[in-house]
């Protein structure tokens, strides 16, 4: 994919600058011109004069005596080793993320990305990290947010009230619009799995969606949450199997069923195939250390045996079929067009989830933040609109709310936290992103999520890709 080595630019330009000041420091004209130089040049020259191969300060071109340079105007010069170049470790870590040993050391979510990468089995990492084919959709998701610029208002006409980040979905109030997306097999990253994520989300009033492919059961997770939670379902051809899944979670009190419809045509997961080449799941590690033993089924896939049922085609009528199968609210996940949003609501959907599966379903997709406006326009406020894919910063939540989303989900970032530090890592990821979101609200003088409207964002011409995206990091 992108693999631009942005880290090479700083040393190159910095080296040229240093060469210039080194030359200047050695110049016999320095003594005459020094006082007229800008302060930053004086600092650089003072630095270079200390590092000259000839010991001592520069000498007067007239008498040859040592020439003491005047003290620079900035007192920090004496405390900084190299005033010319920025501290390279911090610059590199800010650009790349940093492997950390404590959640307290995390500056942003990218530190968790690096830490999860360092602490997890390559095959597990590859599964989480992958985008399909050439990662164009993954990158588009980030670029979509980066193309949107904030348009803050600086001062309010009234004193700002207390910040209220809460939102309401289907009559239930949540402390923030941020929620945890369904991600498969969380115990692959930490033994605490979905239960660990549940504990972190519960403590912060965050909605969590359980994946159909979860490592732990609905009951285990809801016990950790202290209440029933939303469930994401993949359907199979046999309707009876789907009905048994629906009945299982409905009987457990699940209030909202989320049907994922963006994988019905399959996905070209090249990184996963490459990662599992050779023995794949038959390798000794897979066979001995976890669940891929003969006969293993994930908890929400197990115990669904029974008579076969009809195999209706996946048409819009299927939405009504699922909707009528229980009293749960039904959200359609994977909508990216106005037409599908309209049809979904027509056929009974109670919510629309704008998602491209985090770039894991179809390549060459436009970003969800790009798709959001036309979906919101089609929905016309009839049902809640949720969004995920590429959400990495508090500003992204703000931008999605500004364009009409009611709730905004993260997937990989909280799994990075889980993979690094279990529930503590998930909690820290949530806190970091929400702190950024609150800052965006404060910068725009918005005190409730309802006040965040499209007047606070504008479209820029080009995305700004700051992070080092080599190997797909930073997306």
């Amino acid at each position: 994919m992108t693999a631009r080595k942005s880290g090479t630019e700083l040393p190159t330009s910095g080296a040229s600058r240093r060469q210039f000041f080194k030359f200047l420091a050695a110049s016999p004209l320095l003594g005459l011109a020094y006082q007229g130089l800008p302060a930053s040049w004086q600092e650089a020259l003072a630095h270079e004069s200390r590092h000259r191969t000839v010991p001592g300060a520069p000498r007067c071109p007239g008498c040859g005596a040592e020439m003491a340079l005047p003290s620079p105007t900035s007192s920090r010069l004496s405390a900084v080793q190299d005033p010319v170049l920025p501290p390279q470790n911090a610059q590199a870590d800010q650009l790349n993320g940093q492997v950390i040993t404590s959640v307290d050391d995390a500056i942003n979510i990218w530190d968790f990305e690096r830490t999860a990468h360092a602490n997890n089995l390559p095959q597990h990492w590859d599964y989480l990290h992958m985008g399909v084919e050439d990662y164009e959709t993954r990158r588009a998701n980030r670029e979509g947010f980066q193309r949107l610029w904030l348009r803050p208002r600086r001062l309010g006409s009234e004193p700002a009230g207390p910040l209220d980040t809460s939102v309401e979905l289907f009559g239930r109030k949540w402390d923030s619009p941020l929620f945890l997306c369904p991600v498969a097999s969380l115990q692959a990253y930490h033994t605490e799995g979905e239960v660990g994520a549940a504990r972190a989300a519960r403590a912060r009033g965050i909605l969590q969606l359980q994946s159909h492919q979860s490592s732990q059961s609905y009951d285990e997770i809801s016990e950790a949450r202290g209440e029933p939670h939303w469930f994401q379902m993949y359907t199979v051809e046999d309707w009876n199997v789907n009905k048994r899944v629906i009945d299982r979670v409905a009987n457990a009190g699940c209030p909202v069923l989320v049907w994922t419809i963006d994988l019905l045509g399959g996905s070209n997961r090249e990184l996963q195939r490459r990662s599992l080449a050779g023995e794949g799941l038959e390798s000794a590690l897979c066979q001995q250390c976890h669940n891929h033993r003969p006969g293993y089924q994930r908890p929400m896939r197990a115990g669904l045996e029974g008579p076969e049922g009809p195999r209706p085609p996946y048409t819009w009528d299927y939405v009504k079929r699922i909707k009528d199968a229980s009293d749960m609210k039904l959200v359609l996940k994977g909508i990216t067009t106005a037409e599908d949003a309209e049809l979904g609501i027509e056929h009974g959907a109670d919510g629309i989830f704008v998602s491209n599966h985090g770039g894991r379903a179809v390549n060459s997709m436009w970003s969800t933040i790009d798709a959001l406006p036309e979906v919101v326009a089609a929905v016309r406020g009839r049902v809640p609109v949720m969004l995920d894919s590429g959400v990495r910063r508090g500003n992204d939540i703000f931008k999605a709310l500004a364009l009409g989303a009611d709730a905004v989900g993260i997937g990989r970032p909280y799994v990075w936290g889980l993979g690094g530090f279990g529930a503590d890592g998930v909690g820290k990821v949530i806190e970091l992103i929400l702190a950024e979101f609150r800052m965006a609200m404060q910068q725009t003088v918005t005190t409730t999520t309802g006040e965040i409207t499209s007047r606070f964002v504008m479209e820029g011409r080009n995305p700004i890709m700051m992070r080092n995206n080599e190997f797909g990091f930073g997306l």
């Binding site: 602490n119 115990q187 250390c289 993979g419 279990g422």
Partner: protein
Amino acid sequence: MSLVNISSGAGTARLGTALMAGLLLLSASAAAQSTVDFTVSGTSTVRGWTCAVTGTAEVTAGSAAPAPGFASGVQAATLTVQVRDFECPNAEMTEHLMEALKPDEFAEITFRLDSYEPAGPRVRASGTLTIHDVTQAITIPVTLTPGGQGVAIEGETSIDMTTYGVEPPVVMLGLMKVGPQVRIEFEGLIAP
């Protein structure tokens, strides 16, 4: 004063909890015994992990610097964890932990409080942690919250298990290795 057992297999054990519990108990005039729940979390080359154990805290109140919930201070405190009691997410992990901690030889992990410095609701508890028959000095920040049922104790610390002579488990001929750093969290209620 308090002792904490640490399971080696998965990672470090929670030592700090035991210490705090010991301090809290001191408010009662005689030694009192309470339970403290420890979780030990760490890394491996496969995934992160957490194991758990419940230990005991023995705290003797006495004439010492006041601490939250202990008006007359804490004279002595000991936290003790029985290595055999550690539970990991599955039997195999527990087995690896036991192989590393060798409970037949080193049955207990203990933290003994030597001194403490109150700082608001927190206390910096200094003492010794003994794991695998290796004793090291350690200081653990502990939060003490007096309540109707007793004094709640809570804290966390991190240790390198190799400094206690515990070899991080290596499983399946090195296919999976456990990282030496473990994070210990603890919480409990020191009954009066």
